[in-house]
Amino acid sequence: MNIGNRKIVLGLGNTLNRDEGLGVHALKALEEYLRLSHGQQIPVELLDGGTLGLNLLMLVEEASHLLVLDAINAGKPPGTLIELDRDEIPLYRGIKMSEHQVSFQEVLGLAKFRGKFPKYLHLIGIQPADISIGVEPSLAITATFPKVIARSIACLQGWGLLA
């Protein structure tokens, strides 16, 4: 279904709104872990998608494997991990909390519409605690990062990208 072959871990969110940017912070934690375990030989691209919206479409369409880290509002206690696999991700508005630009679900929806949906797609979300103005994620969120890293590694291993 997709001609691309990039293998991408994408952190999303607005780092000016504390936990709204937790996907980006989690990505950096994952990168640090992978540098220690794999040195320079990290077999996936680790990308900060910020709040780019529509500009992320080409990247999504070029990916065969796409792991997304993002803040999710599921009405759960802060710090709850919510994992959704490829066909479980709702492709309409609702999850992304930042109103900046086109939501990432809409980007996924467009990729699907255009017949360029990644073959392997997984979302690891965390329920945020505090999305007020600020550049540091809250403790309730950073405390979940070891679990997020473990789940990310498991996902990439399941895809055969990591030993």
């Binding site: 509002n73 508005r93 909390m97 109103e99 939501s103 679900q105 996924l108 999305i131």
Partner: protein
């Protein structure tokens, strides 16, 4: 009290424009109020900073038009310090500006505005053969076979069958105000998808000249890209070839897809050729300068003021005019030292917040008091419209480039009189017309740049006044940019090497302005009056007119919600409520 409709937010990107419209018993709008519900505040951040770095802050006002505030900023500082940029640098800037129009306007048309006119779901009823016939009759665009359109239709079917309309989830599909035949709907949906591939190629112009996109790099005194045909890190032959290829792609898409689509869709919406006019007053700061930014006679888009539709008496507004160029705050959530009924020239501008509105969530704003985070800019006390229609009218009045031929031929195709341009449809058509003018103009700019390079004039930066020690202790500057949405101005006051005052008057501040101290309504507010609504709780007609202005609220107002609540809400698309 009359029934009041609230549409909030109205853009599909950025957000935070709120429209309240009153309708009478026949569901026709009698009054409208436009409110920006977030504050920008970049002016405050800039105080006491180095003017050479202001562009990096101002361009963050928006994540979509990420060059315009940088251009206005560096031009304001260059104006204040009397810096003349090298010719090659000006040509590179002009290429970036022309690219921004094409990119922005095409994306606005297909991804934001088209869905107001095109019923995506109705495309399922189309006969792909007939769509192919239409495509082949309007242009030479190669994707024109029945099989191609059948494939697009299959994709729409798959999305509808999945129950996940995704990016289209908020459309008013099936609304009686949709008038296109299914075949034209299918044509537009196909091009909606194609535009996404196109934008990926054309953005390379900014990536090359600015090092990255969005938010390319800029420099006061020129452009940060050196020219050296033998260097891997400069503007070389290889990169010039990519630029040339991008220009060709822009021109082909505009000529074979965008403009023909506009002409294919417009005949079904001629009622909008007499709706949505608004003020009839227009202002441009001008664009595409020659060697000297202060020499407005060299501009392709003149700096001009049109009052009461009068194209015969066009004058040139002076942004340095303390008496005529003023911003008012009588209905805006700011306060001025000398009283809120006074007006201030931007060089004397003040950014003092004074929120007196209701605590969200609220049903209605008190429009008799202050009701917007936008100020009310006025020219000689008069509200004006800015944007593509203003530019096309000014170029038409001055007989610039192909403007007359294009406008006249579009009017002839639609069998409409010249008065039809003062409308929602006119605004949307003007956007396509100027895109063609600027896209075609790119060839001239590119050829001029090549000629400069061949002549050995490869300097792209003038550092003579780079050091603050070379600056006067007091300086004032004006920086202009005809942003895709309209006239943008930055006014900077520099004192002892630092920014003493900085004011941005952005296009959406002009267009979405609230009432002023004389209760004169702004462009949006005026344009909605008289528009009938077919289904009042699905006010598609309001969206059409407001989208025709291409609102970009993040440009006008930004960043801080007054109490932080709305940041957490998911409200992409539209929330409409009736009260």
């Amino acid at each position: 009290m009359a029934q009041r409709l609230v549409v909030d937010p109205i853009t599909r990107i950025e957000g935070h424009l709120r429209i309240e419209a009153e309708v009478d018993a026949s569901n026709t709008i009698t009054k409208a109020y436009s409110s920006g519900t977030m504050v920008r505040g970049i002016e405050i951040i800039l105080r006491d900073r180095d003017p050479r770095e202001a562009w990096a802050f101002t361009q963050r006002a928006c994540g979509v038009c990420t060059t315009v505030h940088a251009f206005a900023s560096i031009r304001s500082v260059e104006d204040a310090l009397g810096i003349q940029i090298p010719k090659a640098a000006n040509l590179i800037r002009n290429l970036m500006i022309a690219q921004q129009y094409a990119h922005d306007h095409v994306m606005h048309f297909y991804h934001l505005h088209a869905l107001d006119w095109v019923d995506v779901v109705a495309a399922l009823k189309a006969d792909p053969k007939e769509t192919a016939n239409i495509q082949q009759s309007i242009s030479d665009w190669p994707n024109s076979s029945p099989a191609y359109f059948a494939e697009v239709q299959k994709r729409v079917q798959a999305i509808v069958d999945s129950g996940q309309l995704s990016i289209f989830a908020n459309g008013y599909w099936g609304h009686p105000a949709y008038k296109l035949p299914p075949e034209v709907n299918l044509l537009a949906v196909a091009h909606y998808l194609e535009a996404l591939d196109w934008q990926k190629d054309v953005v390379k112009i900014h990536t090359i000249f600015g090092g990255k996109n969005p938010h390319p790099n800029f420099v006061v005194g020129g452009v940060p890209m050196p020219i050296d045909l033998n260097s891997d890190t400069a503007l070389n032959a290889n990169r010039l070839a990519i630029i040339s290829d991008s220009i060709a792609k822009i021109q082909t898409f505009v000529n074979q897809v965008y403009l023909p689509d506009l002409l294919a869709i417009a005949p079904y919406y001629l009622d909008y050729a007499s709706l949505g006019e608004g003020l009839g007053n227009f202002l441009t700061w001008g664009e595409f300068p020659g060697d000297d930014n202060r020499d407005t006679s060299q501009f392709l888009v003149p700096r001009a003021l049109i009052l009461n539709r009068d194209l015969k008496n066009v004058t040139e507004p002076d942004p340095r005019d303390f008496e005529r160029m003023k911003e008012f705050v009588a209905h805006s959530w700011y306060t001025y030292k000398e009283g809120d009924n006074t007006g201030l020239h931007p060089w004397n501008g003040e950014t003092q917040f004074n929120y007196t509105g209701p605590n969200p969530p609220y049903d209605l704003l008190n429009v008799d008091q202050k009701y917007s985070w936008l100020k009310a800019p006025r020219w000689a006390g008069t509200p004006v419209e800015v944007g593509p229609l203003a530019r096309v009218l000014v170029m038409y009045a001055n007989d610039k480039a192909q403007t007359r031929d294009l406008v006249d031929s579009v009017l002839k195709t639609l069998d409409a009189p010249i008065e039809a341009v003062f409308s929602t449809l006119g605004r949307t058509a003007a956007r396509a017309i100027e895109t063609k003018i600027f896209a075609d103009h790119m060839t001239t700019i590119y050829e001029d740049l090549i000629a400069e390079i061949k002549a050995g004039n490869t300097r792209t930066f003038n550092g003579d006044q780079w050091e603050p020690l070379s600056w006067p202790s007091n300086a004032k500057g004006f920086g202009f940019m005809e942003a895709p949405r309209g006239a943008l101005g930055h006014w900077v006051v520099i004192k002892n090497g630092k920014i003493e005052n900085y004011q941005m008057v952005v296009p959406t501040t002009w267009n979405a302005s609230p009432r002023d101290e004389k209760d004169q309504a702004g462009a949006y507010e005026t344009s909605l009056v008289g528009t009938p609504l077919a289904v009042p709780d699905q006010p598609l007609e309001i969206l059409r007119t407001i989208h025709s202005f291409d609102p970009c609220m993040a440009c006008a107002i930004h960043m801080v919600d007054v109490d932080g609540n709305q940041v957490g809400e998911s409200s992409t698309g539209l929330n409409v409520c009736m009260v």
